[in-house]
């Protein structure tokens, strides 16, 4: 398969995951789009280096997270953790009422705000947990042991639940 086709396939299968990572790491919508684009570019740039030793989704995750971390480091300015809820920018499924759409939009914003308050590594781990990656895959991306990942996940879940509840 040539790179162009592989790229299109990889993006089609993983674009939502990638976008969620962007949401977890960047609150500003314009900056988020830039980050998304930068991840796409880095994926394309590195496509030749994918050797098939890991799942392509895990590999994509690593690129997305590395790019996001670089993005955070580059932006020295302190970003606001509170963003205005704009239902138009949330591509949530059509619901019966506008109120419900706003409610879901608001909950999603709140979730990303809370995730954004976590430590960098914790943000990475929880985004993978929420995307149903296995402990083994998470360990592969983070370079931790599977046991360590398990311990961390339990702690992060509690912290996130607490943040969401507060």
């Amino acid at each position: 398969m040539n790179n162009e086709l592989l790229f299109k396939q990889v993006i089609a299968e993983n674009k939502d995951r990638i976008y969620r990572i962007c949401c977890a790491y960047e609150r500003d919508p314009d900056e988020r789009d830039d980050l998304y684009q930068e991840i796409m570019i880095n994926i394309w740039k590195s496509l030749d280096k994918f050797e098939g030793r890991s799942l392509i989704s895990t590999w994509i995750y690593r690129i997305a997270v590395n790019t996001s971390l670089m993005h955070i480091k580059r932006s020295a300015k302190k970003r606001s953790l509170h963003a205005e809820v704009d239902v138009e920018t949330l591509n949530i499924p059509e619901t019966d009422s506008r109120e419900e759409k706003i409610k879901i939009g608001s909950d999603i914003e709140r979730l990303f705000e809370c995730i954004n308050k976590l430590q960098e590594v914790d943000r990475l781990i929880i985004s993978m947990v929420l995307d149903d990656l296995s402990y083994k895959e998470i360990a592969e991306v983070t370079g931790m042991t599977t046991n360590n990942v398990g311990v961390k996940i339990n702690r992060i879940k509690k912290e996130l639940a607490k943040l969401m509840g507060s």
Partner: protein, 200 residues
Amino acid sequence: MEIEEIKNLWKEQKTRDIEIKSTQYYTSLLDGLKKNEKKVKRNYIIMSIVMLFTIFFIDKVAVESMTDKTMLTWAGFWMIYLAIAAIIYVSWATVIKFDVKGLTESSLEFLKTAREKLRLRNRLRTIGIPVYTALLTIGITFVYIQVTAPMELIYKVITYTLFYLFIASITVFSYKREKKKYLNEVKPIEDKLDTLLNEH
């Protein structure tokens, strides 16, 4: 809120229809850049081998076979060595690396580096190669002064004329070829890089 609820909420967030203006542009750019760099590297490898072999040949055959070398002859040899070493070094300095660093390096930085390397390569073509040719010509002329010393004037004139004609024709031929290659292959990549950099 339970983790399963959070998970469902998390998955509600789908990709917006972000207009990735540059992706298509970038993919064709990167494809072109990678192909071009592959060719450039292959050419540089061949060039380096030929040049190193030339140095080896000059050192083992020309230098050793010439007796009573004058200061001018030595200056000629060193000029040739210097010109060859410099051109090998500068040529390899223009190679764009697609290494693992690219995974974490920002794409903007990568684009800037790639643009700078291409600019350097262009300067190598327009300034470096003529300087290299001039150094080589002067170096060889210095050596020829000793080599042709015992010759009659007419043979000296013929030798120098043929040598300079040879150098001139090679220079013109390679300059035209490199310019054509630049306009057809490198210039479009440079234009795309400039567009992407302007977008940033």
